[in-house]
């Protein structure tokens, strides 16, 4: 009987396997530009974008408008979870042409590792230094070269349930003492003073660390600490953390520490909108979801308003935060085209549309005010007050924008140990200072806008 595995079949199988291996090793086909077949074809560049509630709108207002207005460059959007997939992709020399990152800290890390392209030449060509506010433009400078442009300007304010406040006859607080006093009154009335959560986002603890440092100890002291002139375990910082801890222990946040730590975004926003909790110390990104919880479309019809986070002496302080940055990959084959797209993306027209149409935060660029038509007046007021504060030097520093990564992670993770009584505020900040000093010595602290 002839065996099924004949010499011919055996050779055939081997050839097929060889072909498969060789196919895997084959180089990618030359691009049209390289082959010179179609020099008139538009250059394609790639942008990675995470899928969020606003991302379709952002693509429509930024990418689609860019592709429609010229025929030299086509921007292709790929939906990717950018946070975790970018780093290995860039390290492998792949990834998108335009690199979106979580903030200047991430951009500086990649810039120092040689993964991003210095953009000084494009900044000169497209006038980016004039387009951005000075402090914002300089945030992207690492070792004298520009590596990132800031997007989504953020700040933290005190949102309050206007309907409940009016019903109860309460006035929004204008300084820290008033806020703490009001919280006691609200609790006595059977309501929860502050909405909040940490189970779905314990990184959100950094909102509180940063705000209490800026509002209690003052932004000047935070600045001095960031440039290494005073330690982070300065008594004023300790006091700030103790005040916040005291509020947490009293159950001012979500009724109890345990419920605060078990709640998620849905629960705490619902509690805030329905009036179960009446204040919310949150960032301007709240505007992206407030429409789902407040207003005429809801069963309760409650309304919201805002005041600056109450500082110790009542001076309005707006902490600067950036929700992300944009850079050009070092391995981009078409960096100038990527810079063209960035110029379009950061134009005041597009930024204005991102706010008014997408409820997204604007980049810190000049001239956006002219394109804010249709934006909720309350948000316009926040942007206006924020810009005034920036001009007058009344700005503070958010952790995610100005603190180096290890210090940031430590501050928001270990804060819960102060709440649970596992360490004191002093011990917490002493260790934070040790970590910060190491990062400062290693040159890992992002550029700090001077005062």
């Amino acid at each position: 009987m002839r065996h099924w595995l004949t010499r011919t079949r055996f050779c055939g199988v081997l050839l097929c396997l060889l072909a498969l291996v060789l196919a895997g090793c084959a180089p990618v086909p030359a691009t049209q530009v390289e082959s010179g077949e179609a020099a008139m074809e538009p250059v394609e560049i790639t942008v990675w974008l995470s899928q969020t509630a606003q991302s379709d709108c952002i693509v429509a207002e930024s990418v689609d408008t860019f592709n429609a207005k010229q025929d030299e460059v086509v921007v292709n959007v790929e939906r990717k979870a950018t946070t975790d997939s970018l780093r290995p992709a860039l390290a492998a020399g792949a990834g998108p042409d335009v690199v979106q990152l979580g903030g200047p800290v991430f951009a500086a890390e990649l810039a120092l590792a040689g993964q991003l392209l210095p953009m000084n030449a494009y900044a000169d060509e497209f006038g980016w230094a004039e387009l951005f506010h000075d402090w914002a433009f300089n945030i992207g400078v690492v070792e004298g070269e520009l590596f990132s442009l800031p997007q989504e300007l953020e700040t933290l304010v005190l949102f309050y349930n206007k309907t409940v406040f009016e019903e109860k006859g309460w006035q929004p607080p204008s300084n820290l003492e008033e806020m703490i006093s009001l919280a006691g009154v609200i609790q006595q009335d059977g309501l929860i003073p502050f909405a909040g959560q940490s189970s779905q986002c314990n990184v959100c603890n950094e909102w509180y660390v940063g705000e209490f440092m800026n509002q209690v100890a003052g932004p000047e002291l935070v600045y001095q600490a960031l440039i290494g002139e005073v330690p982070f375990d300065h008594p004023d910082f300790v006091r700030a953390i103790e005040i916040h801890n005291d509020m947490m222990q009293k159950g001012y946040y979500m009724g109890s520490l345990e419920r605060f730590q078990a709640a998620n975004f849905e629960e705490f926003t619902t509690a805030f909108a329905t009036g179960e909790a009446v204040m919310n110390m949150e960032g301007t990104w709240f505007y992206g979801r407030e429409g789902d919880y407040f207003g005429e479309g809801t069963t309760h019809g409650n309304d919201w308003d805002w005041v600056p986070n109450p500082s110790l002496d009542g001076t309005p302080i707006f902490s600067i935060g950036l929700g992300g940055t944009q850079s050009i990959s070092k391995s981009s084959a078409n960096p100038r085209e990527a810079a063209m797209y960035l110029s379009h993306y950061f134009s005041p027209e597009v930024q204005g549309r991102l706010v008014s149409v997408c409820n997204y935060g604007t980049a810190p660029v000049r001239g956006v005010d002219e394109f804010m038509e249709g934006v909720d007046p309350r948000m316009q007021a926040i942007y206006s007050a924020m810009n005034d504060a920036f001009e007058a030097g009344g700005y503070g520093y958010t952790l995610w924008t100005f603190f180096p990564p290890k210090t940031d992670l430590y501050l928001y993770e270990e804060l819960e140990k102060v709440w649970s009584g596992q360490m004191t505020a002093q011990e917490y900040l002493t260790r934070a200072n040790e970590i910060f000093q190491e990062e400062l010595a290693a040159g890992e602290v992002p550029p700090t806008p001077s005062r």
């Binding site: 498969l20 993964q115 189970s199 314990n202 629960e267 290890k406 992670l409 993770e413 819960e416 649970s420």
Partner: protein, 311 residues
């Protein structure tokens, strides 16, 4: 009997030659088929594994250049990192929990299921269903069920059963056990089906003989069922011990290691070091340490097997 010995001799030698040729060809084919997956394995497992050994000895941030720092990461890990120690203790709790609670539940359920004939398939499917659900779905479901104002506790409170509307995931005293409870929900059903399958391979004669000897249900279970499925139990104990060091998804989805580090496992600690602190070298050292622990567990089982244990 053969008429012509010379013909037989030639034929035998020829058959032998053909057999050897066939064997060689089969061997070559086996190699040819295994080479592609071996190459892939070398690239995606062995390569990163070896590079992980190197990076564990560096201060690599995850990108860019890595500076060799010798055993610096391990010194920090074992002498300074209190969070790693806490996470390791939590992992020991986790391992103890999963080596006992789901095992007992699964064995009990399997032995009961083995006696059911009618509707057995439906019940088995119900037990198995949670295992095939994505962990993101199960975890989110449990985060809602354990929520003090929306979950089971709140519902029971409304009908007069008090005290269960506790923020189980928000209390540092109950967070880890609550996550283990949720993870166990998806795990024990799978174990019970596995044990049931093993039980069905035990000869019925053994039970008949036990009954004739007057053994009651418990004695049958202890003296027939358990010895009969011992290899399966021991294998699952081994795998559970190893997997307990790899658990990540439920912890990350439900609490991200909080509150105040109360549910931090070594895996979530590792993730934070690599992707939030940008200390990939240090994370590699943690990963290597965990691998060594898993290696010790496997080594322990191997020693027991050599000593005659049926594992």
């Amino acid at each position: 009997m053969t008429a012509n010995p010379s013909i037989q001799d030639t034929s035998s030698r020829r058959t032998s030659f053909l057999g050897k040729g066939m064997e060689v060809r089969r061997g070559l084919l086996a190699w040819a088929l295994i080479i592609p997956i071996t190459l892939v394995h070398l690239v995606v497992v062995v390569g990163p594994g070896i590079s992980g050994l190197y990076y564990a000895l560096t201060d690599w941030s995850g990108i860019g250049k890595a500076e060799f720092i010798g055993l610096g990461n391990f010194v920090e890990l074992f002498t300074e990192d209190l969070n790693f120690r806490a996470a390791f203790r939590h992992n020991l709790f986790w391992m103890a929990f999963f080596l006992t609670v789901p095992m007992i539940m699964a064995l009990s359920a399997a032995s009961l299921l083995a006696q059911i004939r009618r509707g057995a398939m439906v019940i088995r499917s119900m037990f198995y269903l949670p295992y095939v659900l994505p962990s993101i779905v199960s975890a989110f479901t449990w985060s809602m069920l354990l929520n003090p104002s929306l979950g089971i506790g709140a519902a029971l409170d409304k009908i007069g059963i008090k005290g269960l509307d506790h923020p189980w995931l928000g209390d540092f005293r109950t967070a880890l056990a609550s996550i283990a409870f949720a993870d166990n929900w998806h795990w024990w059903g799978f174990l019970s089906i596995l044990f049931l399958t093993a039980m069905q391979s035990i000869p019925v004669d053994l039970y008949d003989a036990a009954k004739m000897d007057g053994a009651n249900r418990w004695q049958q279970f202890r003296n027939v069922t358990l010895p009969g499925i011992r290899p399966t139990i021991l294998f699952m104990l081994l795998m559970t011990a190893i997997w307990s060091f790899l658990s990540f998804d439920y912890v990350w989805i439900l609490t991200q290691g909080g509150p105040s580090g109360a549910s931090e496992l070594v895996s979530s600690h590792l993730y934070k070091q690599a992707f939030l602190r940008f200390e990939a070298g240090y994370a590699a050292a943690i990963g290597l340490t965990v691998s060594l622990m898993a290696g010790c567990i496997v080594g322990g089982f191997t020693i027991l097997r050599r000593r005659g244990w049926e594992i």
